[in-house]
């Protein structure tokens, strides 16, 4: 038996769904936001929302780091990638995110040396193998990938690799959550907390949600039973009139997180005063930049970048999708002008983007309903 099988057991899933049904009050509509794109992916892939009562609505949050990258940052990356002598490296999903003049993949087709890597360590290896070239790693992700970038930068410095640079686009999870909670057009009853971000930051950073906003948070794993159990735990809290941070994902999330990872991040990164999020606008102290101590590895200081803010395409409603105000299929271009093959908005790029997840899995069930 694979480790995950026990978290995909259909009988247990049905039993949990029955217990959830017993927890909801008739006539009350529950809106629960899954913060993380990984949960969105699981929900559509396994049809978890079909197991929930009709009055329990799952709302997709902003937790896909590919989806929140604004067009201007893509343009900046392309400008670096097109610099003579540069090998530009990034994760695969990032290559298809549209900038104002095309994607990194388009720039690659036009001759830029852009390579997909699975980890920043791979990018460092490319730098060591190509000492006559400058290698730039386009770092993105929440606190899940930021420690990996930080360790790689430390390693690059310790090993004296002079041709490795990082364009840092790492973002942090708490500021957008606060921005969402302060948003007047959104009413939520609770949060399914991000499981793997929490392996690093722990559960403590989410305590402000019950303390300041009176809403429950349950840190959740990504298997179907994890998500169902987390919904059940949120509904139990609501039923009992409680609100607190609970940890469903105890098999990998310690309450205090990974202190070593947090230390390494604090050594290498500092908070940017503000950072633009696609669809959400500028959010204060929501992203990371390299500290002064790592200035010589900072691609943004080494290369000229346009640094221009580019408005999101008018037709695209990623912002509303990221805030959970509309469902993916309610966007005007969903599934027609905007598809995973030819995305207009970033939510259609990553498999964890709400639109791509829905396009790949959920739409079939909906099409059946419509027919």
């Amino acid at each position: 038996m694979r480790f995950v099988d026990e978290f995909r057991d259909a009988e247990l899933g049905r039993a949990l769904a029955g217990e959830i049904l017993g927890l909801v009050e008739p006539g009350r509509h529950y809106k629960v936001m899954e913060v993380c794109g990984g949960h969105t992916h699981s929900i559509y892939k396994y049809g978890i929302d079909d197991l929930l009562p009709e009055n329990v609505e799952l709302v997709h949050g902003p937790g896909c780091p590919v989806c929140v990258i604004p067009m201007g940052r893509v343009d900046d990356g392309i400008a670096i990638a097109e610099t003579e002598g540069v090998i530009f490296t990034c994760f695969g999903d990032m290559m298809r995110v549209p900038g104002s003049r095309g994607s990194l993949l388009d720039a690659k087709a036009q001759g830029a040396d852009i390579r997909m890597v699975y980890s920043p360590l791979d990018a460092l290896r490319i730098a060591k193998r190509n000492p006559d070239r400058e290698v730039v790693f386009f770092a993105i992700g929440f606190e899940t990938t930021a420690p990996s970038t930080a360790l790689t930068l430390k390693r690059a410095r310790a090993e004296g690799v002079p041709n490795f640079f990082c364009m840092c686009n790492h973002v942090t999870i708490v500021p957008p959550l606060r921005a969402l909670l302060d948003s007047p057009d959104l009413r939520l009853d609770g949060f399914i907390g991000p499981g793997h971000v929490s392996t690093v930051v722990g559960a403590r950073p989410f305590e402000f949600i019950p303390a300041d906003y009176g809403k429950p948070v349950v840190i959740s794993g990504f298997e179907p039973l994890d998500v169902l159990q987390s919904v059940q735990m949120i509904l139990r809290q609501l039923r009992a009139g409680r609100c607190q941070v609970e940890n469903q994902y105890t098999r990998v999330v310690p309450y205090e997180g990974n202190l070593k990872a947090l230390q390494v991040m604090a050594e290498v990164f500092e908070l940017r005063p503000h950072f633009e999020w696609r669809g959400l606008g500028f959010i204060s102290q929501s992203a990371l930049a390299l500290t002064e101590a790592y200035a010589e590895l900072d691609a943004e200081r080494r290369y000229e970048v346009p640094g221009v803010r580019v408005a999101d395409p008018k037709a695209c409603q990623c912002g509303e999708v990221l805030k959970g105000v509309i469902k993916p299929w309610e966007c005007k271009v969903f599934g027609t002008a905007c598809t995973p093959e030819r995305p207009i908005g970033t939510c259609m790029v990553s498999p964890e983007g709400a639109c791509a997840a829905y396009y790949n899995y959920g739409r079939y069930a909906r099409e059946r309903e419509v027919v």
């Binding site: 997909m116 992700g141 990938t145 360790l151 964890e352 790949n360």
Partner: protein
């Protein structure tokens, strides 16, 4: 050119975390050779996890072990 597999999830945030089992440890360089479910091998940074030993199961994101998976060693 391959992209993230829509069935496997996105490596960017690694939400479908990779569970790998440690095969060999290079403690001086804080690296471990790890194996996946299908036996595929990968070099993993282990600088953020205490006292990694062969046989340990690790939660790996973007080439870095973030936590040991409890009850799997």
């Amino acid at each position: 050119m391959s992209f993230c597999d829509h069935d496997a999830g996105c490596i960017t945030c690694g939400d479908v975390a990779v569970e790998l089992v440690v095969v060999a440890v290079d403690a001086d360089r804080e690296l471990a050779l790890c194996a996946g479910e299908e036996g595929e091998k990968e070099t993993v940074e282990i600088g953020l996890v205490e006292a990694v030993r062969p046989g340990d199961a690790l939660l790996v994101h973007a080439g870095t072990a973030l936590q040991r998976i409890e009850g799997r060693a």
